[in-house]
């Protein structure tokens, strides 16, 4: 049980920061999200999206996904880092992923209409689909891929801080089933969600801390009020718990741990995003203040893959498998 980074892990994260910089405030944040193709290309060239091919572990991939999640710019990294290694090498990123369960639900939280697959998958906006080269469709026991062409995706405006797109139904005809275990892909999808929330939540908390230390009311910083301090202390506990659950799940490879980490992350997101905006005052409602760049990623991820209820329920089935527990 070692919580310190190894020398190699420290070097990896230092190399990441050398490219991304350290938490600089974006010059312009009035757009719903910030894309940075030049940064993305640098990360790609440095091999940060293909760590597994360079011998790095899942834990290291999660560390980098958390690091990229902290950035104010929006980069598709967690899916490439965690799910990419399971896919054929020819698959190109950015990668979008959608979960299609037997109940007819998809990871995009729109009320569960059943019906044709096209109706299920091709009517709902999918995170990162706009600009993606690959769509991963994760069903209960099957994984399929669509190699995307520009005409496959209709861009979609959104209040969330990610690029979203809607799939054109015809694209589904080109979906190819691949020989990838769905349960392992789902485990990694959950790690990706947990890692991305951890990174964004950490950065959002840090930005809010700066605000409450600077902003004064009643003659003192608002961060000096105990009512504010206690909720920020709880927020910090949640973020640190989220980080360590995610890292442990990545290192150990246990599917229940990954479900618990994703569920924890998605659940904490509700209170965390509310509180961080609350403590930022009306400034937190503006687009010139960067908090939304992280919180509206977190809010989008809250419902990913069915949301916290789905991950928590799955963690119970995985931690106490029905056949084993009965009769014990």
């Amino acid at each position: 049980m070692q919580f310190e980074l190894t020398e190699e892990q420290t070097m990896l994260l230092d190399a990441l920061v050398a490219i991304t910089g350290e938490g600089a405030e974006p010059e312009r944040c009035v757009d719903r999200y910030i894309a940075d193709p030049a940064l993305e290309e640098q990360l790609q060239d440095a091999g940060f999206f293909s760590l597994a091919q360079h011998g790095y572990s899942t834990l290291e991939a999660v560390l980098v996904a958390i690091g990229i999640g902290k950035l104010p710019v929006c980069v598709e990294a967690a899916t490439s880092l965690l799910i990419g290694p399971l896919l054929p090498e020819t698959v190109r990123r950015p990668i979008a992923i959608v979960r299609e369960t037997s109940a007819g639900e998809t990871s995009v939280a729109v009320s569960g209409r059943s019906g044709s697959r096209a109706a299920r998958l091709a009517t709902r906006p999918i995170r990162f689909l706009s600009g993606a080269h690959t769509l991963v469709i994760l069903a209960d026991d099957q994984v399929s891929l669509v190699e995307l062409q520009p005409e496959d995706v209709r861009a979609c405006t959104t209040h969330y801080a990610y690029p979203y797109g809607v799939l054109v139904p015809a694209a589904l005809e080109r979906a190819v089933v691949v020989d990838v275990p769905a349960d392992e892909l789902l485990r990694r999808y959950r790690l990706a969600i947990a890692a991305e929330i951890t990174g964004a939540a950490d950065a959002a908390l840090q930005r809010t801390l700066r605000q409450v230390k600077e902003r004064e009311q009643f003659g003192k910083p608002i961060g000096a009020f105990q009512a504010v301090q206690h909720r920020l202390a709880m927020a910090a506990t949640s973020v640190e718990a989220c980080r360590v659950l995610t890292l442990r799940a990545a290192d150990g490879g246990d599917a229940a741990d990954a479900a618990a980490a994703a569920g924890y992350a998605q659940e904490m997101a509700r209170q965390l995003t509310f509180d961080l905006h609350q403590f930022s005052g009306a400034m937190g409602l503006t687009l010139e203040y960067p908090l939304h760049l992280w919180t509206y990623r977190i809010r989008a991820l809250q419902a990913e893959s069915g949301g916290s209820q789905e991950q928590f329920a799955a963690s119970v089935d995985l931690a106490w498998p029905p056949s084993k527990s009965r009769g014990e």
Binding site: M1, L247, G263, F312, A313
Partner: protein, 385 residues
């Protein structure tokens, strides 16, 4: 970063589990229901701890000269985690081995060490800690119990409250005031509980038998050699002694067992199929594992002699949250868990969980410490220090 256990740590866990399997009686869950301070569990600890001692599992983390083998922080922690998960068959003696013994090693006179350490290491003595008072709870330094100098020693007058294990204890690790100086006027006394003038009264409560008492001191004579350290040294000693105790008891481990029990019961009843129940169970599971991992992080930091910048307080808050999540899951979905006939572990956990945010200090104080140490937020106002 590596979250796996070493083969040595796994073997140690196994050896503790073997002792438990060989030693705990069939009705152990019933005995352990009231918690470490009950008369029955305390009596059991006097049999159990010598067996642990014989196998080198009671004080292995103590230095060799005091009967240990200098085992690592992690080894000490693993033993404590397994025993707490099992319902704490060491009874109140967990406290002796965790901090009372080590504090005596550091600050005690050779005579004090000789008198107390062998008995603690043998597992045959019970201690209580005389800290809180009616007007000194979270604000411990405002304690008023007086130690007045008399010929050959001190006369103690005052009262303590919430004192765990007092009815069964042979000694009290007592904080008392020798002068008005808020922190500099506090001294520590190692007081035999059979001293004339001590009266112990159990407080009927929602938590386990033996958990809380009032202890009254009326002209209790304590000889000078029973003072630990110097007269003004009490606060420094206690701060040092408890610095490593902030994460305290590995409460999440018992919460996990209560959750395991509740899940097993619900599954047997066919009541674990709905997503609403499973989602809440999963939420409690994640809270327990979050607490476990944050505590492990603190243990790792302690093992490496790293400085605590508030991580201990984060872990403590996570532990309280985990206790609450399991407690509420049981109340919501296994409401009969508190009735007669239910597995005793469920009520046992309930009684521990409702005290989690208060035992060893109100958890809100930990939130203050997180704000100050971890988040580096400014103080609300200047406090009297």
């Amino acid at each position: 970063m590596d979250f796996s256990w070493t083969p040595e740590h796994l073997a140690l866990r196994d050896s503790v589990r073997t002792v438990l399997a060989e030693t705990l009686p069939a009705d152990w869950d019933r005995i352990a229901r009231e918690g470490p301070g009950s008369a029955e569990q305390t009596a059991f600890s006097r049999e159990f701890c010598p067996k642990l001692a014989a196998r080198g599992l009671l004080v292995p983390h103590w230095p060799v000269e005091f009967g240990g083998r200098g085992a690592s922080t992690w080894e000490h922690f693993i033993i404590g985690e397994e025993l707490w998960a099992a319902g704490e068959p060491r009874g109140p003696q967990y406290m002796n081995v965790n901090w009372i013994g080590p504090t005596l090693m550091r600050y005690g006179s050779p005579a004090q060490q000789q008198e107390h350490l062998p008995r603690i290491a043998a597992g045959t003595v019970i201690w209580c800690q005389g800290f809180s008072e009616p007007n000194a709870g979270s604000d411990l330094a405002s304690l008023r119990t007086r130690a007045e100098r008399v010929d050959g020693g001190y006369l103690i007058n005052g009262s303590k409250i919430w004192t765990s294990y007092a009815a069964e204890a042979e000694y009290c690790f007592l904080l008392a005031r020798t002068s008005a100086d808020r922190k500099g006027g506090i001294a520590i006394f190692l007081v035999p509980m059979n001293s004339p003038g001590i009266k112990v009264q159990q407080i009927p409560a929602l938590i386990g038998e033996g958990d809380i008492h009032e202890v009254f001191f009326h002209d209790v004579f304590v000889a000078e050699p029973q003072r630990l350290g110097g007269e003004g040294q009490g606060w420094d000693i206690i701060t040092h002694a408890l610095a490593n105790e902030r994460i305290g008891i590995p409460r999440y481990a018992f919460a996990r067992r209560a959750l395991d029990t509740a899940i097993g019961l619900l599954r047997d009843r066919g009541e674990l199929d709905s997503i609403a129940v499973k989602a809440r169970a999963g939420q409690a599971l994640a809270a327990v594992e979050a607490a476990r991992m944050l505590v492990y992080g603190v243990v790792d930091q302690r093992a490496k002699r790293g400085a605590d910048r508030g991580q201990g307080s984060l872990a403590r808050w996570a532990v309280v949250s985990a206790e609450r999540a399991v407690c509420e899951f049981v109340l919501d979905f296994v409401p009969d868990g508190l009735h007669e006939g239910a597995p005793p572990l469920l009520l046992a956990h309930h009684m521990r969980a409702i005290a989690a945010g208060l035992a060893s200090g109100a958890a809100e104080v930990q939130l203050d410490l997180i704000a100050r140490m971890f988040l580096e937020l400014p103080r609300e106002r200047a406090r009297a220090v």
